[in-house]
Amino acid sequence: MSTAVNVWRFVWTCWKLNLAGAMEFRLSFLLTAGMMFVNNTVWIFFWGIFFHRFPVINGWEVRDVMMMWAVSAGGVGLMNVLFGHANRLATLIATGQLDAYLVQPKPVLLHVLVSRMSVAAIGDCLFSLVLFIIFGDLTPDGMAKFVSALVIATLIFLFFTLIVHSLAFYIGNAEGLSFQFYNGLLAFSTYPTDIFHGWGRVMLFTVIPAGFISYLPIGLLREIQLSYLLAAIGAALALTAGGCCFFYRGLRRYSSGSMMAMRM
């Protein structure tokens, strides 16, 4: 019990310090987060015009698409804010920068993941919140559902990213490959699941598990579809367990870069 409390205290301290570091340059912080907000707004503009012209697409309405954006942007935002190094892991592995984490008495994976915060991703989180306030169900039940959707989305984003970046342990330079996979997951999770058919749809629930994220507004927020929800939770847990195993298995193959580094 005391170990868990210690780990939690450590993670909390890392997050606090990351945020303090980001806030050191206030203007830059606001600009970076603001730009991500603007970036996401473009897609809201696109979908706004799209649904103005075509009110229903295979059962999806504008509210569902907005909530899909709230869940996806929130999920990827939380991943990059709280576990900001997930998206840089391939580089850390390929350049031998894990050494500094290996010698410290902390869980290696957790330590690596929480030691960076993406400032831009704070814009994603704010964007998600704004969309939820505008289009979401603001009752306690609705809020609970939204938080659950965010947790599922964050876990899928985080551990899928971890797996593709951990490929660097096995194939060396995996930056390009992991970048493409990550972008693929991100792109597919921001379009209605029901526009995909055949092999495309199969792929969304297997190779690139974006379907579990993009269907959350229908299968959880609009009404709970138990079979889908259990599958989404199962996928999130399987990715979590698989991701951790894949990372630690790969870590055994890691060879030090004999790099001198100091973490402050």
């Binding site: 730009m35 970036n39 012209r53 075509f54 697409i57 390009g176 792109a187």
Partner: protein, 281 residues
């Protein structure tokens, strides 16, 4: 005697103009050679283009089926997809001028660039045009492969040369607008944020994500007064729905914007250069 002197002065002017043209052509040639070395890299980067186009094909396929019509806002399914292939290939081909100029200002490289016997703006324009005309055909080849696989070979006829012609004006306007923002580096340290926001205008009111005919009427009227439509929308529309009369109108609109924005760019450049202090060397 006077006539001979006048003729020789005219000949000299023509020679100097030709020499200038050759100089910028050489800049373009060097840029092309530099970028040809990274063709494989460009192809790999185009993978994302395939993903996006695949998603849009699914989206519009579902939309057309849902609507049950052959045409939406005058576009068939094939035309919309090819429009997006051209538009995406066009936008992805544009390099970031803000990154370049910002680096030049921060590193002090600009001191050397300004001292060269070439115009700073024409130098960047020659490099920019060469780069986009290497990158765009590669993007088009990648996106076109997907288009041919899904829709079969397109029959655009005059749309191809029309697209090429309108592209020259479109890239020029994009260069002028982008350069105006990039030159803000003479006053402020970070200009990439401005460029980022500019790109978002290009994506939306510029018609990259969908043809402007799909916009609500009020928004279409607003877009008609903005320079953004003369970039992606004009080029992609000419390719997929060629109409000679409309193309000449588009070229006229582009000429108007090139003249206006060109003058504005010169003004900003002169103001900026007079303000610039380069230390060290």
């Amino acid at each position: 005697m006077h006539g001979v002197r006048q003729r020789s002065t005219e000949g000299g002017r023509r020679g100097s103009r030709l020499a200038k043209l050759l100089k910028y052509a050489a800049v373009g040639k060097v840029t092309i050679r530099n970028h040809l070395a990274y063709v494989t890299d460009f192809f790999i980067r185009s993978i994302f283009l395939i993903i996006i186009l695949y998603i849009f094909i699914q989206l519009w396929n579902t939309t057309f089926r849902g609507e049950g019509t052959e045409l939406i806002a005058g576009y068939s399914f094939e035309q919309i997809i090819w429009y997006l292939i051209f538009a995406e290939s066009f936008v992805i081909a544009c390099p970031s001028l803000s990154t370049k100029i910002e680096e030049e200002v921060k590193s002090g490289d600009i001191g050397y660039k300004l001292a060269r016997p070439v115009s700073y703006l024409w130098f960047h324009y020659a490099g920019y045009m060469s780069e986009v005309f290497i990158r765009m055909p590669i993007n088009l080849a990648v996106g076109g492969m997907l288009g041919i696989l899904v829709l079969g070979p397109p029959g655009f006829g005059w749309g191809w040369p029309g697209f090429l012609l309108v592209s020259v004006g479109a890239f020029t306007i994009n260069f002028l607008l982008n350069m105006m923002l990039a030159l803000c580096a003479f006053w402020v340290e970070e200009t990439r944020g401005l460029e980022f926001v500019y790109h978002k205008f290009l994506f939306t009111v510029g018609g990259m994500l969908m043809p402007l005919e799909l916009f609500p009427q009020v928004l279409q009227k607003v877009c008609a007064w903005l320079p953004f439509q003369a970039i992606v929308y004009f080029a992609a529309r000419t390719a997929v729905s060629f109409d000679a009369e409309a193309m000449w109108r588009m070229l006229g609109t582009q000429a108007f914007w090139i003249a206006g924005l060109g003058a504005a760019l010169m003004f900003i450049y002169r103001k900026g250069v007079s303000k610039l202090h380069v230390n060290g060397g």
